[in-house]
């Protein structure tokens, strides 16, 4: 076999390192998996510790079930609002819905479908560990069940994770205010309304018959829901693909918005 010159050797090893680097970068946890992401409720303590903070989430603020999926899903005894849904749903009363002078389709008086599933954590009225069917073994009930609420005290994540909380910024707790949607949906993009037809508003792109646009943005039974734009399993934590937070497609240059909106 022909011996390689020094330069050829150097190039070979550089390429090898590059390939290894790319492989390591692709390891789940950095882009495409729910494991070790913010939606992995068994891993939030480790995330905090990795950033020099204190792990006060699973086992302390809510039950550590020891399983990632069970906080939302169960194979048995589920409800159908989202696939194999395992969380207690919020009451449909008490929501303020989005209003505008120009919206073309009827926005219902409360969110429904898969959006209610998202709101079962994100509206702050139901504890994050409130499931219908917990694991059979491997966990204990500490009696503490925090909610993703901006309330400044009590069993509320906002106690540490909002600037107004009683323990604001404790051990570097980040400001998560904007993730606490609350029941006031008037300041959020509307959900649970039918996607407008061309006759209702020509300034919207017509989705394919499947309801799924080429880039992954999708409708649910012809309606816009939270999961139209967000994929709860698929973060892009480092924002390498422009999909933070948990978006289905890149938001760079507002391409996500313009999937639907013609502006």
């Amino acid at each position: 076999m022909k011996h390689l010159t020094f330069i050829e050797n150097l190039i070979f090893y550089i390429l090898l390192l590059l390939v290894l680097f790319l492989i390591l970068r692709a390891i789940p946890g950095e882009s495409g998996t729910i494991f070790r992401s913010k939606h992995d409720l068994t891993y939030l303590n480790e995330r905090a510790i990795a950033k020099g903070g204190v792990g006060a989430m699973e086992g302390i603020s809510y039950i550590d079930y020891g399983e990632v999926c069970v906080y939302c899903h169960t194979p048995h005894g589920a409800i159908s609002v989202a696939p194999l849904w395992n969380r207690v749903l919020p009451s449909t009363s008490g929501y303020s819905m989005y209003k505008s002078s120009t919206v073309d389709t009827n926005i219902p008086s409360s969110p429904d479908g898969v959006s209610l599933a998202c709101l079962s954590c994100h509206d702050g009225t139901v504890a994050v560990d409130s499931v219908l069917n917990p694991p059979n073994t491997g966990w204990i009930d500490t009696g503490v069940h925090y909610r993703m609420s901006p309330e400044t005290s009590g069993q509320s994540c906002g106690k540490c994770h909002t600037p107004q909380g009683e323990l604001a910024g404790l051990y570097g707790a980040h400001d998560a205010t904007v993730k606490y949607i609350t029941k006031n949906l008037a300041d959020d993009h509307p959900v649970s309304m039918n996607y407008p037809t061309v006759l209702q508003d020509p300034k919207f792109n017509t989705p394919p018959g499947t309801g799924v646009f080429v880039n992954g943005i999708r409708l649910f039974d012809g309606k816009v829901q939270c999961a139209s734009c967000h994929d709860p399993h698929n973060p892009d934590e480092q924002n390498l693909e422009g999909r933070a937070p948990f978006l289905r497609t890149s938001k760079n240059y507002s391409n996500l918005c313009m999937t639907c909106h013609i502006k």
Binding site: A176, K251, Y253, S254
Partner: protein
């Protein structure tokens, strides 16, 4: 020596022409090709100043005005910009006006959040990515932005001009990026068409056409397209919440641009319809 000078002259002219072509927005198709695209992604010349000099580079077109979460309510849909305080404006006045002109409100406050020159063009509530949120808005939402997103300056459309104002450069007709003077109102609105006043009823002034359609939220002058909605190219009035309708900036202007009948060019200056033969003016005014 002469040839050298000639070469310099030609290349400078060429560069100037290239740059001047590259700086202005083509005003075609949609907002991305207009000067309301603050990324200025249609122009390499201006785009290079975003994030490095004039104002933050948020990497998205819509976010300079809109956000899907944590928006400010009560002015424009899903509004993301800091809103100006009301009460500090000098309204339009005239000896002949038929309805009362007070402080600007509603959707016009959204427009004025840039066009009164008191608020930086990159002052928003919710910047792209996780976090980066400051209720009420900030030129560094969340306080944790950094270059290349965070710019060293945060310019505003301040009519006083000078450093800190877009009018530092955009102040004359010969500047290739356009003259923004007429769009920098300040808070003295006495020199602008009145806004935020109720549209006169026929009883208040018979010299106004009355809108043809209304739906409780909007009243408009229907000219075709979809009869049940106020299309982009139709002048519209905004509900005052008490059964009446008001004139606002967006009655005549569409901040996203309105496609003209050639299907490519937008009407100039973000108008909803052409004003040739003063057609826009005479939508309302009987003169």
């Amino acid at each position: 020596m002469k040839r050298l000078l000639l070469a310099i002259l030609i290349s400078t002219t060429a560069i100037f022409l290239f740059v001047s072509h590259a700086l202005s927005a083509p005003n075609t198709n949609g907002i991305t090709n207009t000067r309301h695209n603050l990324l200025a992604s249609y122009s390499s010349g201006m785009a290079g100043l975003v994030g490095t000099f004039a104002y933050n580079n948020y990497g998205e077109v819509c976010v300079y005005c809109h956000t899907p979460h944590g928006a400010q309510t009560g002015s424009a849909p899903l509004w993301n910009r800091t809103l100006p305080a009301t009460g500090n404006y000098t309204p339009y006045s005239s000896s002949t006006i038929d309805t009362n002109v007070g402080q600007p409100d509603g959707i016009s406050l959204a427009c004025l959040s840039c066009h009164d020159g008191t608020i930086a063009v990159d002052s928003i509530v919710n910047a792209p990515g996780s976090g980066h949120y400051t209720p009420g808005g900030s030129t560094n939402p969340g306080g944790d932005l950094a270059p290349p997103v965070l710019a060293p300056n945060h310019y505003a459309l301040n009519p006083a001009g000078g450093s800190g104002s877009c009018l530092l450069c955009h102040n004359s007709d010969t500047f290739s990026g356009g003259n923004f003077t007429v769009a920098a109102f300040g808070q003295d609105l006495s020199r602008q068409h009145p806004i935020s006043m109720n549209y006169p009823t026929a009883a208040q002034d018979p010299k106004f056409y009355q809108p043809t359609n209304s739906n409780g939220r909007l009243a408009w002058f229907e000219t075709g397209g979809i009869a049940s909605r106020a299309d982009d190219n139709e002048v519209k009035l905004y509900s005052d919440g008490a059964g009446g309708y008001k004139v606002q900036c967006a009655s005549c202007h569409n901040p996203h641009g309105t496609l003209s009948s050639d299907g490519i060019n937008l009407y100039p200056t973000f108008l909803r319809k052409s004003n040739s033969s003063s057609d826009l003016c005479t939508t309302c005014h009987i003169k």
